[in-house]
């Protein structure tokens, strides 16, 4: 499976970081290699020294994109969630990274600048839809985009397989 980037975008008051962590866990549960770059963990080191100016925000995006690129070429999915309100910077990241899926997490900008993406691959609303549905929507989109394998565990045995299993369970006394 190739690496790629999932970019969580949302205004200051959105549940962006929390949702990114839940998606991270959901992918980890599937044994998929994934790393999260957000304001609260890797970002503490990665974005050290950067403030809230447009130039610093652009640098934060560039740094996150650079790390994502390194992860992706090592077949790791990069989940990025940071305070990146400017559309142009995010579009630059998209162009640089190629395999890129943007998640717009709806929320209240609280009066701060936030430029919505033009065409996010997924739009979620945690308040309206709940955490589980949002995670499912995101993961399912990644499956449909063929970025991750679909969960295709089939329950059905073939006729021959079912006959063998039935005989074995009868022999063992279970049925």
């Amino acid at each position: 499976m190739k690496g790629f980037t999932v970019w969580f975008t949302g205004p200051a008051q959105s549940d962006r970081n929390y949702l990114a962590r839940m998606v991270e866990e959901s992918l980890l549960e599937r044994g998929i290699r994934v790393e999260l770059i957000d304001d609260e963990s890797a970002g503490k080191v990665l974005f050290e020294g950067l403030g809230g100016s447009p130039e610093d925000r652009e640098m934060a995006v560039a740094r996150a994109a650079h790390v994502s690129e390194m992860l992706a070429r090592n077949e790791v999915i990069a989940l990025v969630s940071l305070d990146a309100p400017y559309r142009e910077a995010r579009e630059s990241a998209r162009e640089m990274l190629g395999d890129f899926c943007e998640i717009l997490v709806k929320g209240d900008a609280g009066g701060e600048t936030f430029e919505e993406p033009a065409k996010p691959e997924v739009l979620v609303d945690m308040q309206a839809d709940g955490e589980d549905q949002c995670v499912t929507t995101i993961v399912r989109t990644l499956e449909l985009l063929k970025l991750i394998p679909a969960d295709e565990t089939s329950a059905e045995y073939s006729g021959d397989e079912e006959e063998k299993i039935t005989k074995r369970l009868k022999d063992l006394g279970y049925i």
Binding site: E25, S26, L28, E29, R30, G31, I32, D151, T153, S154, A155, Y157, S158, D160, E161, E162, K164, I165, R168, L169, K170, D171, L172, G173, Y174, I175
Partner: protein, 460 residues
């Protein structure tokens, strides 16, 4: 301590492990002496499926939505499914551990076929139809598995009903040796936070050889040549456990030995559908004069209110109007009818007229939920001293040569738990713990939150 190893021994039974043979099982005894041990109360019913899944999810069969190996898919008479891993929707311990980047090695845990991804590796168990299918995660493990097992990894014994008892014993030993070898190979070659294997051999040898071992079994003969078969095998398993323990770093890993249920003597089988016919609850289209499996096509549904499944316990189903396709029990009479059937089932007698102590449970009384299609009653015939035979044409209610499977041992409600953890870490030392407490305990051990919908409690 930050790692955990669980050795599962399906059907390992406390009266043998703790009471009769502990001094003959030095490796198990060492774990007992180092920590805690006790009974582990199984699910209702105490059957491999769903017991191991209940253990790993802390969810009861009603929440899981399956009540045994084979379950009704709908209220049609023939809509059945095998509850394999694709039907398991609840998260197991290793799913939670994966989410937190903990790596798991899972081998032979029942109900894991078809395999689902996790952080680590998994080898599915005996509901795997054959070795040609993909039964490992990742796929590449399958290639290494036979070599790791010393030549041939054996998922389960073949031809279990053979009369060639020596050959069956050989197979059980081969299977056990191969599984422990394979497990040890993978265990020592990587760094696992959580490792768990389940060996089925004890269950297999109990069912096939209990009559030779148990002096109280009606078919026991003193001095028979298989008298020590079960004892010798327990010692063999203990030696294999010793080899695995030699790979464990005691400074960072604790070890559990658990089972999903126990074993006890089986007195015989009650022909449950013969009983229903005698009570007027079941009518066949044509009389049957020789023993045969009951097919739903043989039943006159216009005159039938109940039918039952065979197995170590019985599931009883009612033919309810507007629920089953040709149902006749009016819904408003369902509760009263069920009480009537319970009373009669619990009064079933043996051939000498003595009540055998049957217990009949309503699913809604014993489970948190009743997902899927639960049976209308879960029945322990003779409190599991008797199994259920579903065949008809037997001309008797009491059978001593079983109609489908081995008749030596039935399942008992208590399995075992042994854990070499400092006993002062256990909140409350008990004689009997609950199978539902295992998953919360494991998550707590790893410093993780226990989900609110788990029905058990952490032991630590």
């Amino acid at each position: 301590m930050k790692k955990l190893l669980i050795i599962g021994l399906d059907c390992a039974t406390p009266q043998l492990v703790f009471d009769a043979w502990l001094d003959d099982l030095p490796n198990i005894k060492k774990l007992v002496d180092q920590g805690i041990h006790g009974n582990l109360k199984s699910t209702c019913p105490p059957i491999t499926v769903p017991a191991w899944t209940s253990m790993m999810t802390s969810k009861d069969p009603g929440t899981l939505g399956f009540y045994g190996f084979r379950n009704r898919k709908g209220y049609g008479y023939d809509e059945l499914f095998f509850a394999n891993n694709a039907y398991v929707k609840e998260k197991r311990v290793w799913n939670y551990l994966s989410r937190k980047r903990k790596k798991s090695l899972i081998m032979g845990v029942p109900q894991t076929y078809p395999p689902k991804p996790l952080n680590g590796m998994l080898v599915a168990s005996f509901l795997t139809p054959n070795k040609d299918v993909q039964y490992t995660h990742p796929d590449s493990v399958k290639t290494e598995l036979d070599q790791a097992a010393g030549g041939n990894y054996i998922i389960d014994v073949r031809d279990f009903r053979t009369d060639k008892k020596e050959w069956l014993i050989e197979q059980i030993y081969e299977m056990t040796e191969a599984r422990f070898k394979a497990f040890n190979h993978f265990y020592k070659n990587d760094d696992w936070d959580f490792a768990m294997m389940v060996e089925m051999g004890i269950d297999r040898i109990h069912h096939a050889f209990w009559r030779y071992h148990d002096k109280n079994h009606r078919l026991y003969e003193a001095g028979n040549k298989f008298e020590n078969a079960i004892f010798d095998y327990y010692k063999y398993v203990d030696a294999r456990i010793g080899e695995t323990l030699a790979l464990v770093d005691p400074e960072e890993t604790t070890v559990m030995v658990v089972s999903d249920h126990g074993a006890k003597t089986m007195t015989g089988a009650i022909a449950i559908n013969e009983w229903f016919m005698r009570e007027g609850y079941l009518t066949l289209k044509e009389p049957v004069t020789s023993p045969c499996k009951l097919a739903t096509s043989m039943i006159d549904w216009s005159k039938t209110r109940c039918w039952g499944e065979g197995g170590y316990y019985s599931r009883v189903f009612f033919n309810v109007k507007d629920r089953e396709p040709e149902g006749i029990i009016p819904k408003e009479e369902y509760d009263a009818f069920r009480r009537e059937v319970i009373t009669k089932l619990e009064a079933i007698e043996d051939e000498e007229g003595k009540c055998i102590g049957t217990q009949a449970f309503k699913p809604e009384d014993i489970y948190s939920n009743t997902n899927g299609i639960p049976p209308d009653l879960v029945v322990y015939l003779g409190n599991l001293d008797w199994r259920s035979a579903g065949s008809v044409g037997l001309n008797t209610l009491h059978i001593y040569e079983n109609d489908t499977g081995p008749d030596d041992a039935n399942h008992a409600e208590n399995g075992i738990i042994i854990w070499n953890i400092d006993p002062t870490r256990i909140k409350e030392l008990k004689e009997t713990y609950s199978i539902y407490d295992m998953a919360p305990t494991i998550l707590t051990y790893f410093g993780m939150e226990v989900p609110e919908d788990m029905i058990g409690q952490s032991l630590i």
